[in-house]
C-alpha cells in the first residue's frame, strides 16, 4: 500500500524542514520526501494549502477505561484524539481499577489494539492503587509497555515515599510525571485561592499547594537523578523553579494545558460554570501570561490537554459537587493554532516541538519526523478552517469543555498513523 501526500507545506523542526513538498509513504513508513514525486500504484492526495507535521502526541489524557466508561472509553477517546489531530496519546492510570500492574497495562494496550484510532501509550501508577504508600510493580509494567509512571490526580504526600518512587523508577529509564498537590494546603479547595475563592465563597486551592511539591520534587530529582516531568503546571513561580532546575542541568521537564493558558480564575463568574472546575484550578491572569511566555521561550516543554471527560450528570450539579476536569483532545490543537500561532506568539515549528517532538522525548518514544525512514505518523492541518466549538460536535462521549461556543481558526484535516488514515477531511475513517 503506497500513499503520496502532494503539495502540502511540510514542517519538521527536527530536520529543519519547512517547505512545500511531496511525501511518499510505503508500508507505514516515509520512503521519500521531495518535489514532484510520482506514484505508480496507490493513493495520491493533493493537500495544497494544507500543512503537514509529524504526528501530534497528547501526553496527558484520561481515557477512563477500564471502569469509568460512562465518561469515556478507549474507542471514543481515541476517536476524539484523531479528530483533534493526534496520532498518539498517553493515558493516565487513575482508572477503576488503577493501572498499577502489568495486567492492567496489557489490558489497555490490547483494548487499544482492537478499537483505538490512535496509538495509546500507557502511564503506570507509581504507587499501588494511587494510595501513595506502596511502590507498584514498575519494572513489570515497563516490561509490558508502560512508557512512564505517575500518580496523576494526586500528589504523593510523603517526601520519603516520593524519594523512594524516584529512586526506584530511575532504573527503568522512564520519566516520573508528577501531579503536584500538597493535601495539607489544598484540602477540599475548589478554585484558586485569592480573588476567586473569596468572591465565590468557595474553599481556596492555593498556588503554594502546587509550588511546594514542585520545589520538593525538583530537590528529589537532584537527589535521585530520576527524570521528572511536572504535569499541568499553572503558576509563574512554579515555572521559575522549573527554569532554575533546567539551568542547573537537572532532568526536569514540564507541560501546560490549553485551559491554563487561555482561561483564568476571572472566567469563573457568579454563574458557577462547572466546566471551569479543573484540578489544578485556573489561576490568575498574571500566571496565564507567565505561562504563555514560558511556551514561547522554551521553558515549557509540552502542551498537553489533560483531557478529563465526565458524564453530563457529573458536571450538571452544584459546583462543589461537580467533578474536576475538562475535555481537551478536540480543542487543544485549534486553540494553539488560533491563539498562539495565529496570535504570533509562536511559529508552527515551535508548535510541533510542543505537541509532537517534546512529548515523544519525555515519554521516551521513538522520534517521528518528516524524513525517509520515519514511521508515517502525520497530522495534516487546515490552517484556514474557521469553526465554532459545538457541544454536539465532539467524538468524545463527553462535552465538558469550557471552550464551547468559541470561534477558532485552524484544525486537523487528516491524520495518518503508520501510513493509514485515521481521519480524512475531518471524518474518522472506520
Amino acid at each position: 500500500m503506497a500513499l503520496l501526500l502532494k503539495n502540502a507545506r511540510a514542517i519538521d523542526p527536527a530536520c529543519g524542514l519547512d517547505d512545500v513538498c511531496d511525501i511518499l509513504i510505503r508500508d507505514g513508513r516515509i520512503v521519500e520526501v521531495g518535489r514532484g514525486l510520482a506514484l505508480g500504484k496507490g493513493v495520491a492526495r493533493d493537500l495544497a494549502g494544507k500543512i503537514v507535521v509529524p504526528g501530534l502526541v497528547d501526553m496527558h489524557v484520561h481515557l477512563r477505561e477500564p471502569g469509568q466508561e460512562q465518561k469515556e472509553d478507549i474507542a471514543s477517546g481515541s476517536r476524539a484524539a484523531a479528530r483533534g489531530g493526534f496520532t498518539a496519546v498517553c493515558c493516565m492510570p487513575n482508572t477503576t481499577p488503577v493501572i498499577d500492574s502489568a495486567a492492567q497495562v496489557r489490558f489497555v494496550a490490547e483494548r487499544a489494539a482492537a478499537v483505538a484510532k490512535c496509538r495509546v501509550h500507557v502511564a503506570g501508577a507509581c504507587t499501588q492503587g494511587l494510595k501513595g504508600d506502596t511502590l507498584s510493580e514498575m519494572g513489570d509494567m515497563a516490561a509490558h509497555g508502560a512508557v512512564a509512571f505517575t500518580d496523576d490526580g494526586r500528589g504523593i504526600q510523603s517526601s520519603g515515599m516520593m524519594r523512594l518512587v524516584l529512586d526506584y523508577a530511575s532504573m527503568f529509564g522512564k520519566a516520573v510525571m508528577v501531579h503536584c498537590q500538597d493535601e495539607g494546603l489544598v484540602g477540599a479547595g475548589q478554585v484558586n485561592e485569592g480573588v476567586a475563592s473569596t468572591r465565590l465563597g468557595l474553599l481556596g486551592w492555593p498556588a503554594e499547594g502546587e509550588e511546594l511539591e514542585i520545589a520538593r520534587d525538583i530537590a528529589l530529582a537532584r537527589l535521585t537523578g530520576c527524570p521528572l516531568h511536572i504535569q499541568h503546571i499553572t503558576t509563574l513561580r512554579g515555572l521559575d523553579m522549573v527554569r532554575a532546575a533546567k539551568a542547573e542541568g537537572l532532568p526536569v521537564t514540564c507541560e501546560v494545558t490549553p485551559h491554563h493558558l487561555f482561561l483564568t480564575e476571572d472566567d469563573i463568574t457568579d454563574d458557577y460554570n462547572t466546566a471551569l472546575k479543573v484540578n489544578p484550578p485556573l489561576r490568575t491572569a498574571a500566571d496565564a501570561a507567565g505561562l504563555l511566555e514560558g511556551v514561547a521561550d522554551g521553558s515549557i516543554d509540552c502542551i498537553a490537554s489533560d483531557h478529563a471527560p465526565h458524564a453530563a450528570w457529573e458536571k450538571d450539579c452544584e459546583f462543589e459537587v461537580a467533578a474536576f476536569g475538562m475535555t481537551g483532545l478536540e480543542t487543544a490543537l485549534a486553540l494553539v493554532l488560533t491563539k498562539l500561532v495565529g496570535g504570533g506568539l509562536i511559529d508552527y515549528a515551535r508548535m510541533v516541538e510542543l505537541m509532537a517532538v517534546n512529548p515523544r522525548r519525555v515519554l521516551r518514544l521513538d522520534p517521528v519526523g518528516i524524513a525517509a525512514g520515519s514511521v508515517a505518523d502525520l497530522t495534516v492541518i487546515d490552517p484556514d478552517a474557521a469553526w465554532t466549538v459545538d457541544r454536539c460536535g465532539f467524538a468524545s462521549k463527553a462535552a465538558n469543555s469550557a471552550f464551547i461556543g468559541m470561534e477558532l481558526t485552524g484544525r486537523a484535516h487528516d491524520v495518518y498513523v503508520g501510513g493509514y488514515a485515521t481521519m480524512e477531511e475531518g471524518v474518522i475513517v472506520e
Binding site: 480573588v195 473569596t198 492555593p206 450539579c317 459546583f319
Partner: protein, 314 residues
C-alpha cells in the same frame, strides 16, 4: 418606584435605591406586625417553596412567618425529606419543583452557587436564604434595616465585623451591601479566619486588634464562632478567642456612646460576646435584628412577586 429584580441572589446586583426600597417597605410591614391581626392578603394566591437543604431553624421560621403573614401558600421542602437522600440530582429536584408551577423558591443550601443553578432551571423567582460560604442576602437586608432604624441613616457609618469572616456567608452579602450604602467596613479577625482577599468583598480595613478599632466604630457586628473540634482549628481555644476578640464588658469602655452591637445569631455566650454585651439594653440590637428579619423578608417577597398593596395602609 422602579424595582426590576426577579431574584435576590447576589446582593451586589442591588443598587442603594433598590435596598432603600426594601427597607422602606419593611417599615410598612413592621406596622402590620404590630397589629393584633398580623396578616395581610398581599400575596394571596402565590405559592412559595422553602427549599432548605441544610438544617436551619431561624432563617426558615422567619421566612415561613413572613410568607404566612403575607397570605401566600407555602410548602416546606428539604431536610430529611429531600430527594437527594434517595440519590436524585439537585437539577432533577429543581425540574420537579418547576413542574409544580410555583412562584418563588426560597433556597438554603450548603453549596455555594445553588440559588443561581436553581434560577437557571425554574421560571419562578429565587431568594438565596444562604448558599455555602457565599452569600446570605436577606440577612444583610435585615442587618441594614436594624442599623438604619437606629441611626436614621447608613451613609458614613463605620461598621466593624468581628469573627470568622472567611467562612461567613453573612459577610459575603453584608460587606458588599454596606459598601453599596456608603458605609466604611473594617473586618477584625485572626488571619486564620480571614478570606484570602477581604478587599474583594469590599472591606476597607483589616485588623486583628479589636481594641485599636473599637473607638472608631458605629456598629460592632459580632459573628458566631463555630464550636468545632480543636484539632486543626483556626484558633487554639475558645478561651483565647474570647481573650483576643470577645466583645466584653471591659471592652465596652472603648466603644462610642451610641455604638451598636449586632449578631446574626445564634450567640455563643462567653465566646464572641459576654452576656452583659449581648443583653445590653441600649447597645444590643440582636433581637431587633430577628424582628427585622420578618419585616424585611415580607418586603422582599412582596417586591419580587409584585403583590397588591391591600391592607398595607390601615
Amino acid at each position: 418606584m422602579a424595582f426590576s429584580h426577579k431574584h435576590l441572589i447576589d446582593i451586589s446586583e442591588y443598587s442603594a435605591d433598590d435596598i432603600m426600597l426594601v427597607l422602606e417597605l419593611a417599615v410598612k410591614f413592621k406596622e402590620v406586625n404590630e397589629r393584633t391581626i398580623k396578616k395581610v392578603p398581599t400575596l394571596k394566591g402565590f405559592t412559595v417553596i422553602n427549599m432548605f437543604n441544610e438544617p436551619s431553624t431561624r432563617t426558615r421560621s422567619s421566612f415561613e412567618l413572613a410568607e404566612k403573614r403575607l397570605s401566600c401558600d407555602s410548602l416546606n421542602f428539604g431536610g430529611s425529606s429531600t430527594s437527594a437522600v434517595k440519590g436524585e440530582s439537585l437539577v432533577d429536584t429543581i425540574e420537579t419543583l418547576n413542574s409544580y408551577k410555583v412562584d418563588m423558591v426560597v433556597v438554603r443550601d450548603k453549596h455555594a452557587g445553588v440559588p443561581r443553578l436553581i434560577a437557571k432551571h425554574v421560571d419562578a423567582s429565587v431568594i438565596d436564604a444562604g448558599d455555602g460560604k457565599h452569600q446570605h442576602p436577606t440577612q444583610a437586608l435585615l442587618d441594614l434595616y436594624s442599623i438604619w432604624e437606629r441611626f436614621g441613616r447608613l451613609e458614613g457609618l463605620h461598621v466593624g465585623i468581628v469573627g470568622d469572616i472567611g467562612h461567613s456567608r453573612v459577610c459575603g452579602s453584608l460587606i458588599p451591601a454596606l459598601k453599596t450604602m456608603g458605609c466604611t467596613v473594617t473586618v477584625i479577625a485572626p488571619p486564620t479566619l480571614l478570606p484570602a482577599r477581604p478587599d474583594v468583598l469590599g472591606a476597607d480595613f483589616v485588623s486583628s486588634a479589636i481594641e485599636a478599632v473599637l473607638p472608631e466604630l458605629d456598629v460592632v457586628y459580632m459573628l458566631r464562632i463555630q464550636r468545632e473540634r480543636l484539632e486543626g482549628a483556626p484558633y487554639p481555644s475558645l478561651r483565647e478567642y474570647n481573650l483576643l476578640f470577645g466583645l466584653t464588658r471591659e471592652r465596652e469602655r472603648l466603644m462610642r456612646p451610641d455604638a451598636l452591637v449586632c449578631h446574626p445569631g445564634p450567640i455563643n455566650r462567653g465566646v464572641e460576646l459576654d452576656s452583659y454585651m449581648a443583653d445590653h439594653p441600649q447597645r444590643s440590637v440582636i433581637l431587633d435584628q430577628v424582628y427585622a428579619g420578618i419585616c424585611t423578608r415580607m418586603a422582599i417577597l412582596c417586591l419580587l412577586l409584585g403583590g397588591s398593596d391591600d391592607g398595607l395602609t390601615a
